[in-house]
């Protein structure tokens, strides 16, 4: 039996729709259920940020999580398949009437994604002071807490409504199927067989 960690919400629902299409049966968590067993799988309903932890520690064999989370956490896992769900970008946001001045000695940036931010600014050879926040990141430049933000952008509406614009895109992200390293090698045939079935549906859906 493969244990699959899914991020609560829309990505979990869409992933289960793909499983349903592959196996011809409905998969859905009922109510506040956190574990669902069906058709030879055990699905875990966990918080998005926790999916890689469950997979990396072997509590789940495989999981579905955003590429931004994989990159941010610098995980030692196996990357299997772009599920093409939850597409978004990681971008730098600044106030509408400003531009990023890359010639400044350092920039103060508010973000949840500390590693992605540090690595991106290091690649530009610009010193960065990172202010770690846990939510409402858009607020930081408006109240002078930071010069810019690094955050997830789906449609850009939240940034626009708060007087911010995308200054630069850092990376594209979407939900990926990942595997625990030991599980991948110990259950390779099973995991690659599932990979092929899911890939067919993902390709078909485009």
């Amino acid at each position: 039996m493969l244990t699959v960690a899914l991020p609560k919400g829309r990505i979990a629902e869409e992933t289960l729709e793909i499983f349903a299409e592959v196996f011809g049966t409905d998969f859905a968590f009922s109510g506040r259920e956190l574990i669902m067993e069906k058709a030879g799988f055990r699905f875990l309903n966990v918080r998005n940020q926790d999916v890689p932890t469950y997979v990396e520690h072997g509590a789940a064999d495989i999981g579905v999580v955003g590429l931004d989370v994989i990159t941010e956490k610098e995980l030692d896992i196996v990357r299997l398949l772009d599920m093409r769900l939850g597409r978004c970008k990681v971008a730098i946001g600044i106030k509408n009437d400003e531009e990023i001045d890359w010639s400044r000695p350092h920039i103060k940036v508010a973000t949840k994604m500390v590693n992605i931010t540090r690595n991106y600014f290091a690649s530009k050879a610009v010193g960065v002071e990172i202010v770690k926040l846990y939510g409402s990141i858009e607020l930081a430049p408006l109240v002078g807490l930071a010069d810019a933000i690094v955050d997830i952008v789906e449609t850009g509406t939240t940034m626009r409504e708060n007087g911010l614009k995308v200054a630069e895109e850092i990376m594209d992200s979407s939900a990926h199927l990942i595997a625990n390293k030991n599980s991948f090698y110990a259950k390779k045939k099973e995991i690659l067989a599932l990979y092929k079935l899911l890939e067919e549906v993902v390709e078909r859906r485009g």
């Binding site: 520690h57 072997g58 896992i77 196996v78 990357r79 299997l80 398949l81 772009d82 990926h176 625990n180 390293k181 030991n182 991948f184 090698y185 110990a186 390779k188 045939k189 690659l192 990979y195």
Partner: protein, 283 residues
């Protein structure tokens, strides 16, 4: 503030049942290795040569000797054991098989107890067998994974696969390669998958053949997985390597290596991981 009961993070404390278990594992391993002709060695905690073994010096706990020459705490036993037995004891001992039971210490405060063995001029199959036997003695039935570092190296240097793709185990990217044989390489999982190798280019085929022969020489036939694409950034290992794991716990690693023109083979069993696994199983 440090409380009176605190110990540094990553350091090890065993008492009662766990300390007795540690002693038993080490005693059984020492007896088995001695009976197999290995001689025990205990190397210094302090070393002048560790920095030569580590490209990234971050794991080293560094200090100075009386003349302020750089000294490190032992972060890796293999390099020091090989250097001492070939450079210092080489004149007085013909012995080629050595074992040690001692911890390694890495920055900032990590301790890891190991049971290790090195065979100067030794072969892969012999060290796999010995590591496997240590685990058999303590009744851990784990997965033995055989890999070959040269295959990811060849994929990078001759076939243009990005090292990051291999390091990150990006299977999706590997499966999209222009080389159709890479897809077959990804799927290799057991010794049977190595039976027909005609499909692969000559250089890859030679390395797969090396893996096939290594597996054929093992007496254990169950629970073996073959992973030609397994990437490991190991310091001096240059060909066949192995890991032994159970669930998410790596219990032992080893393989063939070269240190300063000395060809050898060795392994380390991770005592702390064994203790943790056995206690968890018993509970």
């Amino acid at each position: 503030m440090i409380y009176a009961h605190e110990i540094p993070g990553g350091s090890r404390l065993y008492f009662g049942e766990s300390a007795a278990l540690k002693r038993r594992i080490e005693a059984q391993a020492a007896q088995m290795l001695s009976e197999a002709g290995f001689v025990e060695i205990v190397t210094p905690f302090f070393s002048y040569h560790q920095h030569a073994s580590f490209e990234d010096k971050t794991p080293l706990v560094r200090l100075g000797d009386g003349e302020n020459h750089e000294v490190s705490l032992r972060a890796d036993s293999t390099a020091d054991v090989v250097r001492i037995v070939t450079k210092r004891l080489g004149r007085s001992s013909e012995n080629k098989k050595w074992f040690y039971i001692q911890p390694v210490l890495t920055f900032p405060t990590k301790e890891q107890y190991q049971i290790g063995a090195e065979i100067i001029g030794g072969r892969f199959a012999e060290v796999v067998e010995k590591a496997h036997t240590v685990l058999e003695k303590i009744e851990i039935d784990a997965v033995l994974q055989i890999a070959n570092i040269r295959i990811p190296q060849l994929l990078h240097t001759r076939y243009g696969i990005a090292i990051e793709t291999l390091r990150a185990s990006n299977i999706e990217s590997l499966l999209q390669s222009d080389y159709p044989w890479i897809q077959k390489l990804v799927a290799i999982n057991t010794a049977e998958d190595l039976e027909s190798l005609d499909f692969y280019p000559e250089d890859i085929r030679a390395e797969l053949m090396r893996m096939k022969e290594a597996v054929a020489h093992l007496s254990a036939k169950e629970n073996i997985v073959v992973s030609p694409l397994y990437y490991a950034n190991l310091r001096y290992y240059d060909a066949l390597i192995f890991r032994i794991f159970k669930e998410n716990v790596v219990l032992a690693t080893g393989g063939e290596y070269r240190i300063e023109e000395v060809e050898a083979a060795g392994f380390a069993v991770y005592t702390d991981a064994c203790i943790e696994y056995i206690l968890k199983k018993e509970r």
